[in-house]
């Protein structure tokens, strides 16, 4: 799937073993977006001519020349990925430590919001603290982890208490949708909550 990072668009994929990798979203052969590709085993293949890339980014297969071992120089740029508490983290450079951990919280879902962080803060009436934004709607409380994709678009990951039951998770998901609508309204120039 495509994803956004400070270093540009990435193709995020999971091999059969479960390991997640992040590649620059451009095939070095002829520039096709790798996020349109397909995964077989531990290889991501480009949808245009089927060139296959291993998790380290090196090309392992050129179908037009099955007998050829692709040269080491054919490779796609990779980014460091870590799976931490159900959230996939990408680091733009060499990471100095593991990703942040949010003790006691579990992810519910992620959604794209057509609004910037300022609008989201205004919609919740709070501001980000400890990396998370709190939002309470009726009796439901959710914590939001925000990843800006552009000034007016944010990828929002919704977290709740890890002991929540399925009904509470559904309610939390609805609350997040209400927040999205409110923030998008503010972003379009509307006011208030």
């Amino acid at each position: 799937m495509p994803a956004q990072s400070p270093a540009g668009r990435v193709a995020l994929w999971r091999g059969r073993s479960g390991r997640v990798s992040a590649f620059a979203d451009r095939c070095p052969h002829r520039g096709m977006r790798l996020s349109h590709g397909f995964v077989r085993g531990e290889t991501l293949s480009c949808i245009y001519h089927g060139w296959g890339y291993a998790q380290a980014g090196n090309c392992v297969r050129i179908p037009a020349h099955p007998a050829l071992t692709p040269p080491e120089t054919v490779r796609v740029a990779t980014q460091h990925v870590e799976d931490g508490g159900g959230i996939i983290w990408i680091s733009a450079g060499e990471p100095t430590g593991g990703p942040p951990r949010f003790e006691g919280l579990a992810p519910v879902r992620s959604m794209t919001v057509e609004a910037g962080i300022v609008a989201l803060e205004e919609a919740t009436g709070t501001s980000i603290a400890g990396g998370l934004l709190d939002y309470t709607n009726a009796d439901t409380s959710v914590r939001l982890l925000l990843a800006p994709e552009s000034p007016a678009r944010t990828l929002m990951h919704v977290l709740i208490d890890e002991d929540s039951n399925p009904d509470e998770r559904i309610t939390a998901s609805r609350a997040a949708e209400a927040l999205r609508r409110a923030a998008e309204h503010i972003e379009r120039g509307g006011t208030g909550r």
């Binding site: 979203d25 451009r26 070095p28 052969h29 002829r30 520039g31 096709m32 977006r33 349109h36 480009c46 949808i47 245009y48 001519h49 089927g50 050129i62 179908p63 037009a64 020349h65 099955p66 050829l68 054919v74």
Partner: protein, 281 residues
């Protein structure tokens, strides 16, 4: 900006069969134009300021140019051969460089992945060596002895066969494909790609065919080609960069890409750079 050599070329701007007095509003290299049937029944192409542009009627299409074409439109002798069915496929709008659209047409290595089970299928992915040349006398790019395994090569082909192709590029946004013709060994089916450059990153693709096939209903022939081009569109609208890079460095060609390499070299040599990018970014 220096005048681009592509200004003086002919481009398709509509189907003759759809020409009417009402006219079709379209564009050529960023200029709005109007294509219609004039009072005397002939086709006219005019800019928005009313100035008339050169017109040529050939291969089912109306052709025009913003500049001053120095040569007549390229010849396709097969188009006049008796017994062929001439097929106007229609138009497919693609948000890509007109040159990228032609390059994709010249490529066979993508058949198993983009036109799966129609023009190619795994594991038959190998591209055998073929010949590529720039023919100096005609000033055209040619690829010959191209062979590829196809599960369903054409509407008239039953089952898989190894198909032979020849590709020809007689103009910067036009290509002609000659393809083994199952019902008539010894003859070639002709499938063309005529590309109308609307802008550097937007084009209308007008495929056209001259086939030996009396059986297949016309709508099936048209539908088959349109399916193929819609599949190509999903690739063409997702290539980075959008403009065709003419300088090496951004992309990694292999032996299977020699037609593309020759096409790019030929474009660069002539200064055909509308829809191209020269410096690697």
């Amino acid at each position: 900006m220096t005048r681009n050599a592509m200004m003086d070329e002919w481009y398709p701007v509509g189907l003759v069969s759809q020409l009417d007095a009402h006219g079709r509003s379209t564009a050529l290299m960023g200029e709005p134009i109007e294509v219609k049937r004039g009072d005397d029944g002939t086709a006219t192409v005019a800019r928005s300021d009313g100035r008339h542009l050169p017109v040529c009627i050939r291969y089912g299409h109306v052709w025009s140019s913003l500049g001053d074409p120095q040569k007549p439109l390229f010849a396709i002798p097969e188009a006049d051969q008796p017994g062929r069915r001439l097929v106007d496929v229609g138009v497919v709008r693609v948000r890509c460089s007109p040159l990228r659209a032609v390059e994709n047409f010249l490529d066979i290595a993508h058949f198993p992945f983009v036109h799966t089970d129609i023009l190619g299928s795994e594991p038959h992915t190998e591209v055998q060596n073929y010949k590529v040349e720039i023919r100096e006398d005609e000033d055209e790019v040619w690829a010959t002895q191209v062979r590829f395994y196809q599960p369903q090569a054409a509407k008239s082909a039953e089952g898989g066969i190894t198909t032979e192709y020849m590709y020809r590029v007689p103009a910067p946004t036009c290509s002609i494909l000659y393809k083994t013709c199952p019902p008539r060994p010894g003859e070639w089916d002709v499938i063309t790609l005529f590309v109308q450059p609307l802008a550097e990153d937007l084009c209308d693709v007008w495929p056209w065919m001259a086939l030996f096939d009396d059986e297949t209903p016309m709508t099936d022939l048209i539908h088959f080609q349109q399916t193929i081009f819609v599949q190509d569109r999903s690739i063409l609208e997702n290539q980075i960069p959008g403009l065709l890079p003419l300088d090496p460095g951004m992309e990694i060609p292999t032996r299977a890409d020699l037609t593309s390499v020759a096409y790019r070299r030929w474009l660069k040599r002539h200064g055909y750079t509308y829809g191209a990018q020269l410096v690697a970014q």
